[in-house]
Every structure is written in structure tokens, then in C-alpha cells.
Symmetry: none
Subunit: 539 residues, 2 copies
Amino acid sequence: MSKDRLYLYDTTLRDGQQTQGVQFSTPEKIRIAEALDALGVDYIEGGWPGANPTDSAFFDAAPTTRARMTAFGMTKRAGRSAENDDVLAAVMNAGTGTVCLVGKSHDFHVTEALGISLEENVENIRASIAHLTAQGREALFDAEHFFDGYKANPDYALECIHAAVDAGARWVVLCDTNGGTLPSEIAEITRAVIASGLPGDRLGIHTHNDTETAVAGSLAAVEAGARQIQGTLNGLGERCGNANLTTLIPTLLLKEPYRSRFETGIACEKLEGLTQISRMLDDILNRVPHRQAPYVGASAFAHKAGLHASAIVKNPATYEHVEPGVVGNARIIPMSNQAGQSNLRKRLADAGLEVEKDNPALPRILDTIKEREDQGYSFDTAQASFELLARKALGLLPEFFEVKRYRVTVERRKNKYDRMTSLSEAVVVVKIGDEKKLSVSESMDESGSDRGPVNALSKALAKDLGPYQRFIEDIRLVDFKVRITQGGTEAVTRVIIDSEDSNGRRWSTVGVSPNIVDASFEALLDAVNWKLIHEGAKP
Amino acid sequence: MSKDRLYLYDTTLRDGQQTQGVQFSTPEKIRIAEALDALGVDYIEGGWPGANPTDSAFFDAAPTTRARMTAFGMTKRAGRSAENDDVLAAVMNAGTGTVCLVGKSHDFHVTEALGISLEENVENIRASIAHLTAQGREALFDAEHFFDGYKANPDYALECIHAAVDAGARWVVLCDTNGGTLPSEIAEITRAVIASGLPGDRLGIHTHNDTETAVAGSLAAVEAGARQIQGTLNGLGERCGNANLTTLIPTLLLKEPYRSRFETGIACEKLEGLTQISRMLDDILNRVPHRQAPYVGASAFAHKAGLHASAIVKNPATYEHVEPGVVGNARIIPMSNQAGQSNLRKRLADAGLEVEKDNPALPRILDTIKEREDQGYSFDTAQASFELLARKALGLLPEFFEVKRYRVTVERRKNKYDRMTSLSEAVVVVKIGDEKKLSVSESMDESGSDRGPVNALSKALAKDLGPYQRFIEDIRLVDFKVRITQGGTEAVTRVIIDSEDSNGRRWSTVGVSPNIVDASFEALLDAVNWKLIHEGAKP
């Protein structure tokens, strides 16, 4: 049986950016676009060129992708031609091969929000789509409020989308803009649209999660015949979010009846990167990943109930609907120490430390990790700090030097031009063997800008480590993440530092303290020690 | 038209407790049971008496509720009578009028997990349910893995649930234990069960969220004829959670076709307490409430896109599927890069600043916001900093005092017990009118722990503001969030501070700088200035 092709349209960079508190920078947008492209989505909606500076900058710098890069905008306004609408012109000027324009299809919105006649609105849709196709662009029409519009005035809603198709739109996307339409209504109305003469392979579905049914609504539309799904990674989006592609993609690829009936642009083995992509997005947003997220959450394959856990040991299929490894996730059995130890040995081997099965250090390491994680540490990403902790328990951690004390001063005052400026200064005192070394640095970078106290501290620590100096000269601090792990006044700060050296080696370390400078210093120290070990330095 | 009665069965205290990281205390269970009862659910499943000490203690102390308090357990084991099964006896001993027993209905699980014959399992179900009804208890049978079981062996799955009904079970609950069954399959199989002679008003549905369709699956079962829904508050539960009653309840009460077709035990006006109940549960669990949660999330009615915000001002129904007040939530129009002028005016009005449509300050404010957001600021959440920025542009920001300079020192060294300890000290110099004031504070809290440089700075700033001191004494820093907005060495730190005063007023401010101490100081300053304005302080 030949499979129907389903198209996946990602709008993380546009509708996802409508999430309260989310504002991507241009480099962040580029990173996300590259990850989406590597995954294999068909369309990447990059933003609304002209609507805000970051979106315009993104299209100027947009990476070359296999996926169709799409600019978003709105249909031309009444009273001017498509050619003379400056908002539409800015969208066209982004130069993408595909353009998606949103327009009204609900009579109430035409009269209430736009204040124009129903005929004028249809003409705006027609003229705008015709303008796109005349320019050789692939055109999508996002029919805003389509379902509410259809319920209020089915003839008018259909007239709007037929106008778009007649003008050359490749896709008409049925948008449940307010997120209030339930899956059974979505199915029914999608069938009615197809019955009106619009083929399903030109229909897309765009849902929101206001009733927690965005994923189910998308599936219902596909079952009714629609062949494009719009959504976002991690379900980001306006209000309660959009349909979650991080959930929909594995459901479509792994589960029946979809798996047998459809094919997408995503190869099954790409799913193994899904958990990582989801976490990367949370990292960019500095959000705590949602533990209970389907497929990719840390708890998605955690079996806590005693009944479940014991059956899982016999046969994982007893309590798992898919195999966790397929989506790059892992099974967790919180109660099972045995599972803990074999996991740990696997992880130690990854760090080059082969430890036998009954080594008494293994339970000690597990205890230390538990205790530290209770304090706010996280060793999931901070692989290098995990390795140092394990080495210590295994007696494999040399003491290269000792930090006797440090002091950082942050000062803000007026400079000679009467402008407020800040400067930080750090003093670090270390003892190497019998020798005491005092180093001092300040936080100014080459351009004369203040980079803050952690920068000063990092420079002072790495300034003179005597015999080790040659090993650490090429360490570069490439990323620095701060997270408050407990709310309120008892806040504890977790700092994760990513370092890199001239061999392109990259490692992550963690520090935790109520004092952010201390937490940073702990992570910096781990970074230096890890590097010394891997350079083969001898104390 | 007479309405069908739908029954709501809450399992927050049992399946909800299977959430990784969740363990309720007995008093917490009592608080939650009381809230559920006040809301008006029909059944409260309190736990598994005998399975763990808290559950047993809860039933001993359980509050008297209008809702039917239900004890959970499992069907008797093979090779002993229902009367002689000690696990079942512990469940009966809780003395609840209603008892729910889980049992197998999937042949694979009978042979694989239980290791007994298919006939023995049917007999265990029959004998256990008969035992409950003989004791005068209302009996529910949770048919574990029912949907997977039906797909594998429909006759056997049906035999199991018919045995329960024949033995007197009031309800048979079709459980999608692994959460892998999609809504259309749930509908189809539920219809098949009804066609087999089991009436819908004796059928319940119990779904999990492993494909993000637990809510839709419950609705599909109801559309197919089931009349009891099992779920949890905030969608707590094993792995990805159970069907979310916090979403299902307003959908059933407010939205068509449910609103016209069904009645529940929940009065419509009780919905106004829903947001509060959801937050109370998060408080108990010390979790940050999920902003994007349907109906009750802080972002559920946040309109960020410029197009949406301008229409909302004209008529809220344009972008809201229900009225936020009905579920005890509120509309938010956050300020951001995306926003247009009408959005801005609405937001200014929320802050008590009525500004006319063509005030030339409006585009200036928008420009400033855009520029600042490019630098890493975010005004979505930092409402108070937004207000100060707007007041400045409108000439409505008095200068209460001027910060001349500050200095913070962080020192780490050995104390007299030879342990490394840290201490921060801050000096802040302000000018109030012609008077210069120097204040110094350190970072030690009452317990002698170091709280870090920002704490010291905050204390020094608020130590002596002369004539303003009485207005700011009750400011309390309740939350502190740090985010690095650009990766790499050019990292810029964004700090968001939540403050609170003795009136319970809460406000958020933001600061941005490559220097985390500077960013924090900026947010602290905004917090103090906002408070002075709202106290009516005069310079």
C-alpha cells in the first residue's frame, strides 16, 4: 500500500515566539532552524519580516536549509494594492521561496476587528495570494479563526479559502486561532471543507492548546484528510501554546494507524535526536525541562508504582507504549538500585573509567550524586564535574593545587566623562606544592567593556598556575548558564559553565551555592582540573 | 432536553501520587480532599490503604465529604479466597463506602506479569467484586490495559469486564494504563464495549498522557457513551500524567456540545475557584505553576501578538474561547517586541496610566521597548519596570534619589575552624536632595549563612533612604531569576526580581548587564522606585 505524504510545518520561530516570556535572539533562531532542518521538517516559518528587528535580522542571516524557509505576514490591507502595501512588501523582501499570509475567514472578525466589508476581505485574500504566485513564490494562506468562522457562517468561511486556492495558494491552513475547537468538531469541519471541493492534500491544520487537545485536534484533521500539520517544538506558542510537534512527530512515525498510512520528511532514526532537540530549546530559553512531557520528558518512562516497576523488569512492553531509546530518552526505575549501578557503570565507561561490577565505590558514587542533586547540582549536562566526582571516589583525582582564598570587588561609579561605569577586580591565591601564588585580574575586555565579576575571577584563576600554566592557556569559556533552583529567599544558584580548548574539545562543569560568585568559581575550578587531567598533567 | 449525568472521579491522591517526585503528607492529602469536595467532584480516590503508611494514615483521618471517598486496591490474588487475601483486607479495613479494585483484562499481562491462567484471573475479578458487594460496598473495577487487551484479544477483555459487572460492579473503568491509545481508538473500542451489552452509564474512562491526548481520549470515550471520567488535578500521575481534570472540568461545563448534553456534580460558579485550586496544589508540591496550562495558567489568557492584542481591546471574544474570569483567571496583555500601540495603551491603562490615542510618547515608548528587548530586556513579566519606563517617557517619573556609586566585595577564605567560607559586603552611596548617604551591609542571614553579593547589595540599598525609608521597609525579595540571554563570551545577564510588600502586593522588575551584579542592582532599583510611586512618596 502506498503511503500518503504528510507535511510538517514548524512555527517555533514565529508562533512559538508569541509565548509569554520568549524572545529569541538572531543567533538563537539560527540554531533552532538548523536543528529543525537536521530533524527533517518540511517548512520552517522563520518569523514576520518587518514586524520586529530580530525577525528581519534572522532572514538576512538565515541558514541555507533543505526545509523550505518561510516568511510569515498578513494579507494586504484594504484600500491599497498588494504591490503598494508596505507591510506585505517587507515580507516579500525577505526573499524566501515560500510565504505564508494570515487573513480572516470569520465574518465577525472582518467586520469587528478589520472594520471592512466581507467582499473587500475576500478581495484582499485573492489579490495577496495572486501577488505571491505572480512573484514565483509558493503561497500558503493561514485562514485565521476558520473553525469559529465556519460555525458562524460556513458559506463565507469557505468562500475565503476557495478564493485563496483559486488565486494559486499551494496550501490553505485551517487555523483554530482561539484554541477552543474540540477534536470532533475539527474532524467534522475538515470533512466539510473537503466535501466543498478543496482536496485534503492542499489542506493544513493549525491548532492551539487552550483545551489541551491541540495534538488530538491535529490528528483528527489528518484522519479527516488534511495533509499538513503546523506546530512548534515543545508546544511553545501564544497563550497555552501550539500543537506540540515534539509529541506529534513520534506519534506519526511510531504509532498506528499513522505509521502504516503516512510518510513524512523525517527519517525514523532522526527520532533518536528528539529528546536532545527538546532540551536544547529549553536550554536556549533557560527553562527547566518539563519532566512529564510525552516522549521526551525525564519522567516519560519513569515507572514509580511498585506493580509497574516489577513488571517492567520482566518485560518493558508491559508498561511502555514505545521503546524510550527510539526517541533518545531513557527508562527510569526510581526504586531499583541495580538499574542505578549498571547505568552508572555505563556512564563511567563513557568517561573512560572502566569500573568492575562489584566495586564498592559504585554505591558511594550513587549516594554522593543523590546528595548533591538534593542540594541543587545537576550532573545530566555537567559531564566533566560528574567525572571529577567519580574520580575522587575512585581515588583517581590528583590534587594539582589548592585555592587558599579569593576576593572579588565590583565597583560602580562615575568615570571622568561623568558616566556610570562598572569594573570588577579579582584576587585569587593558590598554593602549588609549597609555593603560594597571588594573581589579580580585572573584568575589562579588549573593547574596554566590563564583563563582570565572574570574568575577572576566571582570568585571575587562570593567570599563573606555575608548572600547569602551559596546559590551561587555551581554555576558553564558551557558555555560562545560571539557574535558581529554589524559589524565594532561600534561592540556591546553579551555574553551568561550558569550556572549550584549541583542540575543539568541549566540557561542562557545575557549581552550586546561594552565592552566585561562589557557584561560578566552583564550576571554573572543575573546568581547570578536568583540563589538567585530560592533558596528562602530573602534580 | 434532559441532560445525561457525567460522574467525575478524582485520583490525584492515588495515581497523582505516582508522579515522579511527588509524595503527599497526610495533612496535605486532607487539604486536597477538602478542596476537591468543595469543588464538587463525585468520587475522591484517597489512596491504597496498606500499600504505604501515608495512605493508611489518610483513611484513618479522612475528612467527611459529600463526595464518595474511595479506597483503591487490587483484585485478590490467585490461590486464596477474597476473604483471606490480606492485601484486599487492608483495603476493606479503610471502611470507605466505595472501593475500586484494579485487575487485569489483557491476556498478555495475565500470563506475563501474573503468571496465572486466564480463567483464574476472571475468577479473581468475579470473587473480589462479589466480596465487595456482599459487604455492602459500592464496587468499581479498574480494567488495567483494557484497550491494549481488547486489541490483542477482544473476547477475553470483554469477558473480564462482564465478569465484574455480573458480580455487581457499579462501574467498570476502561483504563489506558500505558497511555498509548489514541482518541479515535478509544472511541471505537468504547462503542464496541457498549455494543457487547455493557451500558455506557456503568462505564468509566481512565487515560494517561503519554501521547498528549489524555483529555481528548476522555472526551472521545464520553462521546462514545462512557459516563464516568477519571483524572487528576493539574494532570499529575505516573509517567506523563493522567487526564487533567483541571482542563476537563471547565471544558465539560462551559463548552459545546458537552455543556448542553451533560450535567455534573459541579456547579458552574464553583469554576471561579479552579485557578486557585490548581495553584494551591503547586504550592503544596513547591512547584512553579505551569504558565501555559489551559484555563488556569498565567499565560492562558495572555495576548502577545500585536494583531491579537489590538482586537482583544475591541472585543475579548475575538481571541478568547472562554471568559477568563469564569475560571478565576485573568486576561494579560504583555508588552514585548511584538506589540502595537493599542496593546501598549491597554497595558498602560492596566498600570493606571490613561494615555490618549495620538500621544507622541506612545511611539517613543514602543521604540524604547524594542531597543531594550534587543539588548536582552524582557518586559512580558517585568510589569513594574515597564511601568517605570513608560512613566519616564510620559514625564511621570519623579527622581526620588540618585545612586552615586556602589561597591560589593565577595571574599572566600578559611575561617577560624579552617573551613572555607564566603562573605559579601556592599556599600551603596545615594544622594537624596543635597544629602549624601553611605550605607553598608553584609550578606549573612539570621542563621549565619552567606546569601551572596546581591543580598548584601539589596540590604545596603534599602538600609537608609532617609525620608523614603518608611515606604520601603516592608519590601521583601520573593524571587530572583537569572538568565544569560546571549551565549558565549558576549553573554549578557538578565535578572528578574519579584518583590512583595506587607499588603500582599507583588511586582516584577528587570535589569540587564554583562555584569550580573549590575543587572541585579538595576532590577533592585526599579523595585524600590516602583514601590515609592505606588506609596505616593513625593521627592
